[in-house]
Structure formats: structure tokens, C-alpha cells
């Protein structure tokens, strides 16, 4: 026996983002529009609550499912903002980021050999997460002409009807696409008709700029077949705290907690205190950050229009997903980085359907954003 990677690990290639990260790290004075996290620090009140909890010596484990006070607040928050009703005792699990939640769901709720349909382009962890769990993946590439929304047509044409589960994320990373209540209802109907369970990554739910977010779990007949993932990383700008949560009916949460209690034991305690404060007192900061993102979004979309670059009006998260002016977006991104010191991530790094596009993160201060857009403009001229 040697310390070789197991075959299911070996079968997963390193993240496509890795290469760009390594290139960018070698260079000085780059402006990066390649960052998938807020440029804001966590709200000060949340940071201070974390410090205060340390000063009081609150450094023990918490309950496996997370502090009850936190789960109660999550339940209240989700009820007030997304119309979801979950019982804090049995239907909410606090995790180390939404990513842990997804990983738990793949392992706890699917069997090896089951199939999961994954709407793409998407966050880089979904396909590897399914693979690590021995679950087969059906790629569901959304299309530029649909503004990267998930449609019944795409679901049907890719064979998603035969899958056991569907994973998607709206508002979407990397495209910034959002879906209206009616559009989500169409996906919900498809899942009911074909008996799919849904893993809905709603981490960007509070960062929408054109219409309110609709959670699929709030639609008729969906609660019992859905796990909703959310967390504090994006809207509350708390990425490094590593705190998320999953919401689902009791038997699903119980199964996920079965793994969580052995692998994680409990989510970071300090982060849980920060999150309680965030939900109690930092909603205004979230609104203010969202207002800033919206301005930058308008700026970026207007600038692309001025440059003649085709970009659909992305209405959520903090990404725009323009069509690449060159045929090969990987080549473009690399040349732009080398020549103009601006980092973008080619869409192909986010799976099927991403090729030929670029992810442009506007989670960057306005002065850098202006400079970066000016450099892109001079590069394509």
C-alpha cells in the first residue's frame, strides 16, 4: 500500500481556476476582476461580536447543528426575506460554508451510481463533490441565448429527466444570471413531474438588482424535495468565517448531520457568534453593499456596451459574463493578464456552457474597476 490518491480523487482534475491564480500571483500590480468574494470586509459589528466571544472565552464546540440561537435567527431571517418556514430544531444545519452543506447533501442523500443533473456553468465544487460521492453527473449547460437561465427545454434536451437530483445556483456564479419566480416555477414543475430532488444553492439570494429572489422551496410541492443552501459569505461579506447553513425536511437534515457530526463536529464557534450579530444588526450594511454592487454592475454593463462587447444584463451576485471578443476565451484571458495586467477568469473554468465567455467580478473598488475597464478597452482596440 502506498500513499497514492484514490481513483475517485484522481479522476477529478485540479480546478481550472488554479492556472490563472498561479499566473496572476507571479505578477505585480495586477487589477483582479477574477475574485469570487466581496471586496468589503465583514460588517464591523459582526467582527466585534467575534472578538467579544473570544474575550469571554467562548471557544468550545457548539451543538452539532449549530448554536440554537443562531438557528432561530436563521429561521426568522429566511421566513422574513424568502418566505421559507423551517424549524430551527429539526430542519436547519449550520455548516462550514455552503460548500460543506453541498458536500454533505451529495454524500448523505444520494447513493453511488445515482445521477445528478448539474446546471452549468456553475461554482467549481459541484461536479467534484458529486464525483467524490460516487454520483454520476449529467451536464446541463445553460445557454447564452437564454441569458444563462435554466429552462425546461435545456433540462429536457440534456436528459435531466432521468436524473435523481438537480443542482443549480441562482443568482448564479459565474454568470450573474437570475431567475424570476415564474421561471423558477417552470423548473419546479419539471422536477415534480420527473421526481427529482433539488439542491438549490441560494448563497447569492440577497444580491439581486432587478427583481426579488424566489426560493424554489417556497413553491407548492417543492419543500419536501428540496435542500436549500445559504450562508454568510456573500451578502454579509464573511467568506473567511466559513459559515453557511442548509435547510431541508427533518430526515434530510438528520442524514446530513450524521456525516457532519463525525467530519466537522460543529461549524466554527467564533463564526457562529459573528453570524448571530450579523443577522441581528448588520442588515443595513448588506443593503448598502448591495447598492454599491448595483452601481458597479451598471458601470460594467455600460462600459461593455460602449466597447461593443456582447453582455446580457446580469442581474445578480457580483458577476458579469460577457461574450469573449476572441474565439478562445482562455487565450484572451491569458493575453489580457500578460499585456494589460487585468485578471479575468475564462468561462470554461466553470464547466459546460461557459466556453467563449469571461467571468468579470465587480467585487472591486470603483477606481480599480474603472482602470480595469479602460485597460480592457485599450486591449481589444
Amino acid at each position: 500500500m502506498t500513499l497514492e490518491p484514490a481513483t475517485r480523487v484522481d479522476s477529478v482534475p485540479p480546478s481550472g481556476i488554479r492556472r490563472f491564480f498561479e499566473l496572476a500571483e507571479e505578477m505585480d500590480d495586477i487589477i483582479s476582476l477574477g475574485v469570487g468574494e466581496p471586496d468589503f470586509s465583514a460588517p464591523w459589528a459582526a467582527r466585534e461580536a467575534a472578538i467579544a466571544s473570544l474575550e469571554r472565552g467562548r471557544t468550545s464546540y457548539t451543538a452539532n447543528r449549530g448554536k440554537r440561537e443562531l438557528r432561530e435567527r436563521i429561521a426568522d431571517y429566511e421566513a422574513a426575506t424568502h418566505g421559507l418556514q423551517y424549524d430551527p430544531d429539526e430542519e436547519i444545519l449550520v455548516t462550514a460554508g455552503a460548500s460543506e452543506g453541498l458536500d454533505l447533501a451529495f454524500r448523505a442523500l444520494l447513493n453511488p451510481g445515482d445521477t445528478v443533473a448539474i446546471a452549468q456553468p456553475c461554482y467549481v465544487s459541484y461536479v467534484p463533490g458529486a464525483t467524490f460521492a460516487g454520483v454520476d453527473v449529467v451536464d446541463v449547460p445553460t445557454r447564452a441565448e437564454d441569458e444563462f437561465k435554466l429552462t425546461r427545454e435545456v433540462l429536457e434536451s440534456t436528459g435531466a429527466a432521468d436524473a435523481d437530483a438537480l443542482v443549480y445556483c441562482y443568482p448564479n456564479n459565474p454568470t450573474g444570471a437570475t431567475m424570476t419566480g415564474d421561471e423558477i416555477a417552470e423548473v419546479a414543475a419539471f422536477c415534480r413531474e420527473n421526481d427529482l430532488v433539488v439542491f438549490a444553492d441560494e448563497i447569492y439570494a440577497d444580491l439581486t438588482y432587478e427583481h426579488e429572489h424566489t426560493s424554489i422551496a417556497s413553491l407548492p410541492g417543492m419543500r419536501e424535495r428540496t435542500v436549500v443552501f445559504n450562508g454568510f459569505s456573500k451578502a454579509f461579506a464573511m467568506t473567511g468565517f466559513r459559515l453557511g447553513y442548509a435547510m431541508a425536511p427533518p430526515e434530510a437534515i438528520e442524514a446530513m448531520n450524521r456525516i457532519h457530526q463525525y467530519s466537522m463536529l460543529s461549524a466554527p464557534t467564533t463564526a457562529q457568534y459573528a453570524a448571530i450579530e450579523a443577522l441581528d444588526n448588520c442588515r443595513d450594511e448588506v443593503t448598502e453593499m448591495a447598492a454599491q454592487y448595483d452601481r458597479r454592475r451598471k458601470y460594467v454593463l455600460t462600459r461593455f456596451e460602449e466597447m461593443g462587447i456582447d453582455c446580457f444584463p446580469a442581474a445578480g451576485a457580483f458577476y458579469a459574463f460577457p461574450e469573449c471578443p476572441w474565439d478562445d476565451a482562455d487565450e484572451f484571458a491569458e493575453a489580457l493578464l500578460q499585456e494589460k495586467r487585468v485578471a479575468l477568469v475564462p468561462g470554461s473554468a466553470f464547466g459546460a456552457g461557459g466556453a467563449g465567455h469571461l467571468r468579470v467580478s465587480y467585487a472591486t473598488g470603483l477606481s480599480d474597476l474603472k482602470e480595469a475597464m479602460a485597460r480592457i478597452e485599450s486591449f481589444i482596440e
Binding site: S15, I17, F20, F21, A24, E25, I30, S32, G34, V35, G36, E37, D39, S41, Y123, V124, S125, N173, R295, R296, K298, Y299, T302, R303, A343, V345, A349, L366, K370
Partner: protein, 164 residues
């Protein structure tokens, strides 16, 4: 849809944003932005545009001394707060003047080239005003934040340059 208020917020953030920038950041066209700013200026909503200066960073031997002064006043039938404030605000040394609640009446900010100059100004020009009963002067030793801007640069972006 953007509100007119958003234009104020943007100019408060950076008064040097061009009308073109503001149009790109909002739903207004460039000409609408120019029009709204002009209306704000005419209505006295926007009173001026100034740089936020960190005097400690200015490389010169010249000193810039600032102080906040608490003023107590007495009023009578003929003299109200507005009358007193008008007399005080006229001095160019006075950079801000506010009526406040609490232990004293006016909160005054004064600027000068030396502590001596500021002290003389308070004792010669402000204290003798008949309605003023007391002044307490606090020299500003260090400024950490002005007009919403923090002066230290510790907030460097330490995020990974590319992340999923």
C-alpha cells in the same frame, strides 16, 4: 430605478466623478445627471466641493492647527441663536459651526497656522462676544477619519487574486 438621492451619495463619495461616470453608475443619462446636479446647486442642496486633506501627510514645514471649541451662550429677548451664529460664522478662521444639544450650545471648529494664532483668535475674537459665557478649546491632536474617509491605509486588499 436610480433616485436623485443616489447622485448626492455618489458625489459625497467622490466629488470628482464626471457626469459620464455617474451616468454609467446609475440609470440616468449623462444630460440628466448634469441637469440634476445643476438643480441641486441652484437649490442650495449642494453647497460646494472640497478636497479631504490629511494635513499630516502634507510635506511642508507649515503647521496647520485645528481645534474644536465648545461655546456656551446666553440668550435674551433681542438675541437668538441665529444672531450669535451669524457673528461667529463670518470669521474665516471658523471652518464649521453647529448648534448642538447637551452641556454646551455651539460646537465650533477653528483652523489656524499655529496654536498661538488659534488661542488668540478665541480669546480676542470669540470670547469677548457679549452673549458668550464660556469657551472650552480642544486642540485636535490627530485625525483618524474625516468626512467618512479613514486616514490609515491598513485596509489593503488581502484577497487571493483569483478565486472561484
Amino acid at each position: 430605478m436610480s433616485s436623485r438621492r443616489e447622485i448626492l451619495d455618489l458625489l459625497r463619495e467622490n466629488a470628482r466623478y464626471t457626469t459620464e461616470d455617474i451616468a454609467r453608475l446609475t440609470d440616468f443619462s449623462e444630460s440628466e445627471v448634469a441637469e440634476i446636479i445643476e438643480e441641486f446647486e441652484e437649490a442650495g442642496v449642494i453647497r460646494g466641493y472640497q478636497a479631504v486633506v490629511d494635513w499630516n501627510a502634507v510635506e511642508t514645514d507649515e503647521e496647520r492647527v485645528r481645534a474644536t471649541v465648545e461655546l456656551n451662550v446666553t440668550l435674551d429677548r433681542e438675541t437668538g441663536y441665529d444672531d450669535i451664529s451669524e457673528r461667529i460664522a463670518k470669521f474665516p478662521e471658523v471652518t464649521s459651526l453647529r448648534l448642538v444639544s447637551g452641556d454646551y450650545d455651539f460646537d465650533l471648529e477653528v483652523e489656524g497656522d499655529s496654536m498661538r494664532e488659534v488661542s488668540h483668535f478665541i480669546s480676542d475674537k470669540i470670547a469677548p462676544i457679549p452673549e458668550i459665557t464660556q469657551t472650552v478649546t480642544h486642540y485636535i491632536m490627530e485625525s483618524y477619519k474625516e468626512q467618512g474617509m479613514e486616514f490609515d491605509d491598513h485596509d489593503d486588499d488581502d484577497r487571493l487574486s483569483v478565486s472561484p
